[in-house]
């Protein structure tokens, strides 16, 4: 059970349990257990406690909750974009969780998918949606089953249907299963997939809040974002703001991967020190290896050197200020004995595989970036090649329909820039090896 190792800012580790309250509780996925821990009290407060949709939106705005999928956009503001005019509206949960390093949304479903369902119902009420979908990636067989079970339980208990809790609020929820495509984690790519098409992101404008699924106003929210909503409703905006920083309120589920002693999904307040997280809570690197680099927010985040993480805190502003991003909160540690040249190639392979192919700079560029990285790995590199990779990636950034190119450019620019010396040594060593054999 991954927990904070020691008290933080005068608070006990157990106080930082907004999403992970059910961790360690036997049979945590049952509806009864959920209700015992305050489950569906927030929904009752919203539907029966005289809260209007705008009240809900304002409360979530005040809490400072930001999208936990990666973009960090203020959730209340996003909900506020949905036009008030009558007509069909949709709330869709992004459960595509495909960003390498990220495995937090599935943990929420493992603990209890009702957190998500209750949060979704509240969000649906706020934007006026009578239908919602949970879009799950196809490989999440277990998670799909948990969500389907929870939805069934919610229907049986009267939390879904045509007359929820007898208040006349109508809402229907269904799951939709993907089939293997990272780009379906992009909100308009997800919508395209839900429409039965290739998961290709859509041009903006129009924006999904105005014209999304089937041309109707649509909000796509990450699992973790919605799962935090019930707690916020029950405890209020101020209580949520007691966690985190001024601009990054609340807690977040952080994932760690790479060779660390205690990997897992940790609920930490935003603004938590990254170094403390890696070395105290996660027990540092296996075998006591030295840290070389950290990818702090999923595969798309520009890499940080070990020196750069000395004092950095895990919040949106600090990471952005350091030229990287919080993203999904997936921390990937790279030990000293791993070659950054190979890390680059591995990441370029991911982006080449996952490009949807719709727009030219990304489709052609990701393939090219991989070819160039591979050439270097295969010993055909020479000084200037890594810089060329960074240069080409820079020409893809900001030029595409969605931010996938920017994501590819994250590692493609930061690794050659920060580890230029490794590339030079690599070229030399390959040259020497070739001469030795030749």
């Amino acid at each position: 059970m991954p927990v904070m190792n020691s008290p933080y800012n005068g608070r006990q580790p157990s106080e930082f349990r907004i999403l992970t309250e059910l961790e360690g509780v036997p049979n945590s996925r049952s509806l009864e257990v959920y209700k015992k821990h305050g489950g569906y009290a927030a929904l009752e407060k919203v539907l029966k406690g005289g809260m209007s949709p705008d009240d809900v939106i304002n409360l979530v705005k005040a809490s400072g909750l930001r999208g936990r999928g990666g973009a960090g956009f203020p959730t209340g503001m996003k909900w506020g974009f949905v036009p008030k005019a009558p007509g069909e509206k949709y709330l869709i949960t992004n459960f595509d969780e495909g960003e390498p390093g990220t495995y937090k949304d599935r943990y929420i479903a493992e603990l209890n998918a009702h957190m998500l369902i209750e949060g979704k119902l509240i969000g649906a009420y706020a934007i006026g949606a009578s239908k919602s979908y949970i879009y799950l990636r196809g490989e999440f067989y277990g998670e799909i089953a948990w969500c389907e079970q929870a939805i069934k339980e919610a229907y049986d208990a009267g939390y879904l249907g045509d007359n929820i809790m007898g208040t006349g609020f109508k809402h229907h929820m269904d799951v939709y299963i993907g089939a293997g495509s990272y780009i379906c984690g992009e909100e308009t790519g997800l919508i395209s997939s839900l429409e039965g098409k290739k998961g290709q992101p859509k041009l903006k404008p129009p924006f999904p809040a105005v014209k999304g699924y089937l041309g109707q106003p649509t909000i796509v929210n990450n699992v973790e974002t919605l799962a935090a909503v019930p707690w916020i409703i029950r405890n209020g905006a101020e209580a949520y703001k007691k966690f985190g920083t001024e601009k990054s309120a609340g807690t977040k589920l952080f994932n760690i991967s790479g060779p660390v002693v205690r990997p897992g999904c940790y609920e930490l307040p935003l603004g938590y020190p990254l170094k403390r997280f890696i070395f105290e809570d996660c027990g540092g690197l296996i075998g006591g290896k030295k840290l070389k680099a950290v990818i702090p927010g999923g595969a798309s985040a520009p890499v940080l050197t070990a020196a750069e993480i000395e004092t950095i805190t895990m919040d949106y502003e600090a990471f952005a200020g350091a030229g990287t991003m919080l993203g999904s909160g997936a921390v990937i540690v790279i030990p000293e004995d791993v070659s950054m040249v190979h890390v680059l190639e591995n990441l370029m392979h991911f982006f080449k595989d996952e490009s949807c192919g719709q727009c030219t700079p990304c489709r052609e560029g990701t393939g090219w970036l991989l070819k160039m990285s591979r050439d270097i790995v295969n010993g055909e590199g020479s000084p200037g090649d890594a810089e060329k990779i960074a240069d080409v990636a820079g020409k893809m950034m900001g030029r595409t329909i969605c931010t996938f190119s920017d994501a590819a450019a994250g590692p493609a620019r930061s690794i050659p820039q920060k580890f230029a010396h490794e590339f030079l040594e690599f070229y030399k060593s390959k040259q020497n090896a070739a001469q030795a054999h030749g």
Partner: protein, 178 residues
């Protein structure tokens, strides 16, 4: 005229066709259903979706060719899919994949083939317990080379999955027709 699909599959397909706001949305789950029963999706299946259920072959083929989970050729009964993305790679996934592939190839050469194929796939979403692998729909964590070999051995002892049996039977029927 007899349907290309079993009656159970047809019921499932019809269920999906009516479940979402548009018929087109049903394409992804329908392809999963066809694959769950037959282990793969043939071009005859795609054409049958057009002929019997009014879906566009172009729409279906776009989906079939875009998403990686759909199998367009008959597979081995078990697919060992090991994640090769960054976190799993850092934890030795390449070795796991190489070991598994080598073992499968050797077994084939020795005349004692295992009912397995091994693929590298992208991030499977449980990165802290890397390397992560799927054997068909079963997820396994911390799949070292040793565990991969053990998984191959254990699964090979089991009775083949229904879909694999159906796939083999269908292929046999096809080749006997020729």
């Amino acid at each position: 005229m007899a349907s290309f699909f079993s009656s159970a599959l047809n019921e499932t397909i019809k269920g999906y066709l009516g479940r979402y706001e548009t018929k087109r949305s049903s394409i992804l789950p329908i392809l999963h259903a066809i694959q769950d029963e037959n282990d793969w999706i043939s071009k005859e299946a795609v054409q049958a979706l057009e002929a019997e259920h009014g879906l566009s072959v172009v729409d279906v083929n776009e989906v079939l060719s875009f998403y990686t989970m759909y199998r367009k050729t008959p597979p081995k009964p078990y697919r060992l899919e090991v994640c090769g993305s960054i976190s799993c790679w850092l934890n030795g996934a390449d070795k796991t994949i190489a070991t598994a592939k080598a073992h499968i190839a050797e077994a084939e050469k020795a005349g004692k083939p295992v009912p397995f194929e091994c693929h590298k796939v992208e991030c499977l979403g449980v990165c802290g317990y890397a390397p992560v692998a799927l054997v068909n729909k079963d997820r396994h964590l911390n799949v070292t080379p040793e565990l991969a070999l053990k998984l191959i051995a254990d699964y090979s002892k089991k009775d083949l999955p229904a879909a694999a049996k159906k796939c083999a039977a269908d292929l046999a029927a096809r080749s006997s027709k020729q």
